[in-house]
Symmetry: C2
Subunit: 446 residues, 2 copies
């Protein structure tokens, strides 16, 4: 029997605690969450705002009773952990109660970095995270006409899409010149921008937000270096930072991405202290660069690994490639790092393979574009990056390309891949294969 304490009840923490308890039911597992809710999908909030999903209630996966009664966790919601003492192996929760542990798993996630501009505390300025806050905002939205979204990051673009669906007049403000700069090249996200513009969203790119201006404490406009935009509500898709304060307080080492450094068993540098989820750093296999703030797809398996190892098992992480995809307006975009932009920034040589493909037979009414850009290593001819923009199937192609990278797929192999042809669901030529053929031409004979 071990006493295992998990701090943080998001995806990683819930997964770590449940896994540890299920690994050995004699363990006493305590899970602390500072919010009142757990086991919900914050990713769904923009779609509730957009009325694509009818209610926030749909986003809950489990009630707290599931974890207390079915799994057998000591679940403490609305209960922040205020300090950790490694000498006595205890955590102290808000109010002073102490809980002892043999193993500790830190899953504290992330917070927004409040932007350094006046007016971020005005009524009507929102940083989307907590679902109970989101319920209130959802009700308030009915009486709002003009909305700004700050930063063309994933959450910002999902919010812009949802709010446009809801009939709001949306202005998207970002100081970068194109959307999703961290993941995507400008040519691959332009169709997404076009699609949002067709939905009525106004873009103010390369535009700095200077101030949120209020009247009687309520937001009335956003002031930028390109002019003032009237708005009753602002959604701030601000920078995020890993919540590492508690970890740092006990000497846990951080890395270059400001996240907790863990080994392949999710162990920190402090004995018996594990970490998992958005606050840890993971190495991107192609770029060789550590990345923190990964999405919940990674939090669940990382939590499983931390939970298993804390409970006495052995489970290891593997190289990560980070496939991603999302809808922007009616366009799907996605891919696997690295992008052309990143390759250039890293000084990494690459050969491109590009294709303007289609998703169905050219004569079928369901046909949509599928633009592909692949990057290959000029020496090994192996795939080192993939980007997609178009209709259905971007998520599946991104998953495929991440797996192909793991298996060291070459341009030649992808050029000769077999593909399904069926008029309503697949074109004669798979766009991935067409792009790889283009790369083979540029690479020359082996």
């Amino acid at each position: 029997m071990s006493r295992i304490v998990v701090v943080g009840a998001g995806a990683a923490g819930t997964s770590a605690a449940s896994t540890a308890k299920q690994f050995d039911r004699s363990h006493q597992v305590t899970l602390f969450g500072d919010l009142a809710s757990t086991a919900y999908s914050p990713c769904g909030i923009p779609y509730v705002f957009g009325r694509e999903i009818e209610s926030m209630d749909k986003l809950f996966l489990q009630k707290p009773e599931f974890y207390t009664q079915e799994i057998g966790l000591d679940l403490r919601l609305s209960t922040a952990v205020e300090s950790i003492d490694m000498a006595s192996r205890t955590v102290t929760q808000a109010g002073g109660e102490q809980v002892g542990f043999d193993k500790l798993i830190l899953c504290l996630g992330w917070s927004y970095v409040l932007p350094d501009i006046p007016g971020v505390d005005l009524e009507g300025v929102h940083f989307i995270k907590d679902i109970e806050r989101a319920r209130e905002i959802d009700r308030q939205l009915d009486s709002v006409e003009n909305v700004i979204v700050w930063k063309a990051r994933p959450v910002g673009l999902e919010l812009a899409t949802g709010l446009a669906h809801r009939g709001k007049k949306v202005t998207l403000i970002d100081d970068e010149p194109w959307l999703l700069g961290e993941f995507a090249d400008p040519d691959m996200v332009k169709p997404g921008q076009d699609s949002l513009e067709a939905l009525g969203v106004t873009f103010m790119l390369s535009t700095e937000l200077k101030e949120l201006r209020g009247r009687d404490g309520k937001l009335v406009s956003a002031v930028t270096d390109n002019g003032e935009v009237p708005c009753e509500m602002a959604f701030m898709a601000a920078d995020e930072k890993p919540n590492t304060a508690l970890a740092e307080s006990i000497g846990v080492r951080l890395g270059s991405a400001h996240g907790v450094v863990v080994d392949d068993m999710m162990r920190t540098n402090i004995p018996d202290v594990f970490a998992a989820g958005a606050l840890v750093e993971t190495m991107q296999a192609i770029a060789g660069v550590p990345v923190s703030l990964l999405p919940s797809t990674y939090s669940y398996p990382q939590g499983r690994i931390a939970g298993t190892n804390a409970a006495g098992g052995e489970m290891r992480t593997r190289a990560a490639y980070f496939p991603w995809a999302m809808e922007i307006g009616t366009i799907q975009v996605g891919g696997v790092l690295i992008t052309e932009t990143l390759a250039k920034a890293l000084g990494r040589p690459y050969v491109l393979g590009v294709a303007k493909g289609i998703t169905s037979a050219r004569y079928h009414p369901k046909v949509e574009p599928m633009n592909v850009k692949l990057l290959f290593d000029p020496k090994t001819r192996e795939l080192i990056g993939a980007s997609f923009a178009g209709g259905d199937g971007v998520k599946e192609r991104s998953d495929f390309m991440a797996f192909a990278m793991r298996k060291h797929a070459t341009a030649d192999e992808l050029a000769n891949m077999e593909n399904v042809y069926s008029p309503p669901i697949g074109a004669l030529n798979e766009p991935i294969s067409t792009a790889a053929k283009d790369a083979v031409k540029r690479l020359g004979a082996k």
Copy 2:
């Protein structure tokens, strides 16, 4: 300069002739087609019948002038080749004109095997292939109410789907107990059958068609061992056979799938005679069984390989896995051989991995099921078969699995694959990964 004769102007022949000419423009390339049209997509015909595609004209890729003027072929449509003389290296076309060759490429495709029942020659009984015939049938369909489709093969199911969309009363008759028996297990095609039934199609499975009955030379009913079905039109998705008569006349060797045996350069056993397309045999890599009558996805690259090699280049085929997918009603089905049924028939040991997954976040309105069945080799743990049934993304997943097989992917690797999670387009857990995890449990630790 060589004289290259290509017999057959379907996908393989058009591809072979164009490739040979483009490889070396000094070659004199003659392309014979027995029909009046070329470069159309017969796969689109069911969707024109279903009014999803507005007209047969949409199915044409190129006009004949493209091949004669742009490519520079000597294109002879409505011109059958009647005989080949290898001693003088000449083909004789209908009417008696002779054309000499240095290299010959046979791309004669396939024909229906006329079923041995009374009434197949009645007015109203159709074997879909020629697009000009299909135009007439399309016009006649307006005045037809009851239709039977014989055989639940791909074309039969596409026709049944299209005709149901068009509002016809469709009865599908097959002597097999389930749909697509050659490609699919019964549990994986049942959702497709349910979907067609919801569209109003009546299934008569395990039912033998005994006779097509007519009045004044016109079809009035189909007689089966389960009763008589009134119908004014019958679509016969009959067995197909490779068109090998001309090949056999010059001593070309056939294989166990009744197709032409070729090496990896598409060469037959007769020097300077190549073959490509539906009439050749290709080895299925997992089953180790030769297969003929492959779809046009294979005809194009095979034609390219035959054309290149006949023109003096060197290009080789690779192992083939045959991903397939199609829509049945509103359900997508697909996969990569082998199926569980085939594994059993071959006595091949396997371990299953199954999942009842979803295509989007469980709370998103676009969510659809994605049932997965994977087969793994119990010793090597490598993927040897995949089947899908559900919503969007079956084609992409089938392509992915064919590539994974080529790269010897194991259950462990697929269980740990990374995947995109984005509420409208991807679930938290990729169904492929869930199915592979199920297989890992059954396989036990490595």
